[in-house]
């Protein structure tokens, strides 16, 4: 009879907290958006599912051994964990906070006490450690993205790199927005948090996850969900801004055909970019280094089997675990916070400002350029490859059914990837 009661008392129905129930619904909502609305399903299906798993009551899948011990352990064990962290309290909440900000050694000492007490890391927590805390998963995905990227259109018209630069203004404006909200007392973001939130405006999932894991791991869930959701919403967010900032004549502007680009140029480009990174911004070296490596494997033509694997088996495997790991950060205590709303609000502003700056930069460049530049390709500078370029193309076709902008927009589109990785490096350098 004890066992039956025990079974019921430790069952989800008895133990579920309001927040967990809400987050399970949020997880189902993400799955709905991913499956029925095609919101970046490759990431949002694992993230949404991981979010549900993370909120299963009593399972502790998203928690470390220490967190599980603080939740389920006996008072003596909890007190021992407190001692390992060098504090006197026996209040699990106080100990949890100390654990979150503990040094590497204190962290390990607490973990040893918890494991001696029979508690273990949850499955999703282990996935998180291996995939994200190590930094590996976003970098490997970025390598795969590099192996999928064709820099041909960019090489044919390198000026479009400026569009990729301009669109990063969304990132930094959002940083300012985040510190502004904090200054107004509405939210509580540190400068690190603000920087990590800003990167949402880079419209580049792996970069956002990489930066968030370094600068603001506690916000990682909200930042990743926000980044991928808005990337999926690019076809809704961008067109009104693009139409508002351009005249019909500008939108009709036809661009001159792109010159062919030789194989050698394509092989050289990732190396040129790598050298520039090496000379100017070592903090962007992991991100852009792996990206360039992927692209070199693609273009060099002698390692097709490695390039294929980087674009398929490897990136798929890593995506599954990256998504589940991000989902582990959707546990109620981390996600259901007023800051999450702030992040969602700021994220969309970042996209809007980035789009606007890209378009305005394109208008400016068109004034000074010898060859015409259709301002619509500016919006593609936010990256969100290849969706933003497709949006440029679509709005262009509405104005002039003979005007195919897709290839022209691919230049700023991939430039935006480089731009946001550079911005990420600056963030890590200054506030990391």
């Amino acid at each position: 009879m004890d066992k039956l009661i025990n079974l019921f008392v430790s069952s989800g129905i008895y133990q579920i907290q309001w927040g967990q129930a809400v987050m399970i619904v949020v997880g189902l909502g993400l799955l709905f958006l991913a499956i029925k609305k095609n919101f970046e399903p490759l990431l949002l299906v694992p993230i949404g599912f991981g979010g549900i798993l993370a909120n299963i009551p009593e399972a502790g899948l998203a928690f470390s051994a220490v967190e599980n011990a603080l939740h389920l352990g006996k008072p003596e064990l909890i007190a021992q964990i407190g001692q390992a962290l060098g504090i006197d309290s026996v209040d699990p909440k106080v100990i949890k906070q100390a654990y979150a900000s503990a040094s590497h050694s204190a962290h390990n000492a607490a973990a040893a006490v918890a494991m001696d007490g029979g508690f273990n890391n949850g499955m999703l927590y282990n996935f998180y450690l291996v995939a994200i805390a190590s930094g590996a998963a976003p970098l490997i995905i970025f390598m795969g993205v590099g192996a999928m990227t064709d820099f041909g259109p960019l090489l044919a018209n390198p000026k479009t790199l400026f569009l990729g630069a301009a669109a990063q203004f969304g990132i930094f404006a959002t940083v300012l927005g985040a510190v502004g909200l904090t200054a107004l007392g509405l939210m509580e973001f540190s400068i690190q948090d603000a920087a990590a939130i800003g990167i949402i405006g880079g419209a580049d999932g792996p970069t956002a996850i990489y930066v968030a894991s370094l600068l603001a791991p506690q916000l990682l869930g909200a930042i990743a969900v926000s980044a991928y959701s808005y990337m999926a919403l690019v076809p809704m967010i961008q067109p009104p801004i693009m139409r508002a900032l351009t005249t019909p004549e500008e939108r009709k502007l036809a661009m001159t055909q792109l010159r062919p680009v030789s194989k050698t140029e394509k092989i050289m480009f990732p190396l040129v970019l790598l050298i520039l990174v090496a000379m100017l911004l070592p903090d962007a070296a992991p991100l852009l280094g792996m990206f360039c490596f992927g692209n070199l494997m693609r273009e060099c033509g002698v390692v097709e089997r490695l390039s294929d694997t980087a674009q398929n088996a490897l990136i798929n495997i890593v995506t599954i675990f990256l998504g589940l790991s991000v989902g582990s950060k959707l546990s109620a205590d981390k996600f259901l916070d007023i800051n999450t709303l702030g992040i969602l609000g700021l994220g969309i502003i970042a996209f809007g400002i980035g789009t606007a700056c890209g378009v305005l930069m394109a208008k400016l460049m068109n004034k000074f350029s010898s060859t015409p530049i259709n301002p619509l390709i500016g919006s593609a500078g936010v990256s969100a490859v290849p969706m933003a370029a497709r949006v440029s193309n679509k709005i262009g076709l509405e104005a002039n059914p003979q005007n195919f902008l897709l290839m022209h927009a691919m230049g700023p589109n991939v430039a935006g990837v480089i731009g946001s990785a550079v911005a990420a490096g600056v963030m890590i350098k200054f506030v990391g």
Binding site: K3, L4, L7, W18, G19, V22, M23, V25, V26, G29, L33, K37, N38, F39, S229, Y230, A232, L233, P235, M236, I237, A332, L336, D337, I338, T340, L341, L344, G345, I348, M387, R390, K394
Partner: protein, 86 residues
């Protein structure tokens, strides 16, 4: 542990275990049947979703999706916080 204790443990495990397996799978039968009925009533014979190329599918998302996303999540947070006032 002496052997009669062990046997008792084994018997308890068998009783609870089989009981739980049946309860669980019975509930699964109920919920599955219910789900199937609901799906077939409210989402009848869905036009078989061909794996549309994503480019085409994505813009099909209704215009209100973004408000919806923020609205749903903010409602969730509001409700959560109203319960957890510190």
């Amino acid at each position: 542990m002496n052997s009669s204790n062990l046997i008792n443990e084994g018997l308890a495990l068998m009783g609870f275990g089989m009981g739980f397996v049946f309860v669980f799978l019975t509930l699964l039968v109920v919920m599955t049947t219910l789900m199937s009925r609901l799906v077939n009533r409210f989402l009848p014979e869905p036009v078989p979703v061909p794996a549309k190329p994503r480019a085409a599918a994505a813009p099909a998302a209704g215009a209100g999706d973004q408000e919806q996303l923020v609205a749903v999540i903010s409602a969730a947070i509001r409700q959560y916080r109203s319960r957890h006032k510190q």
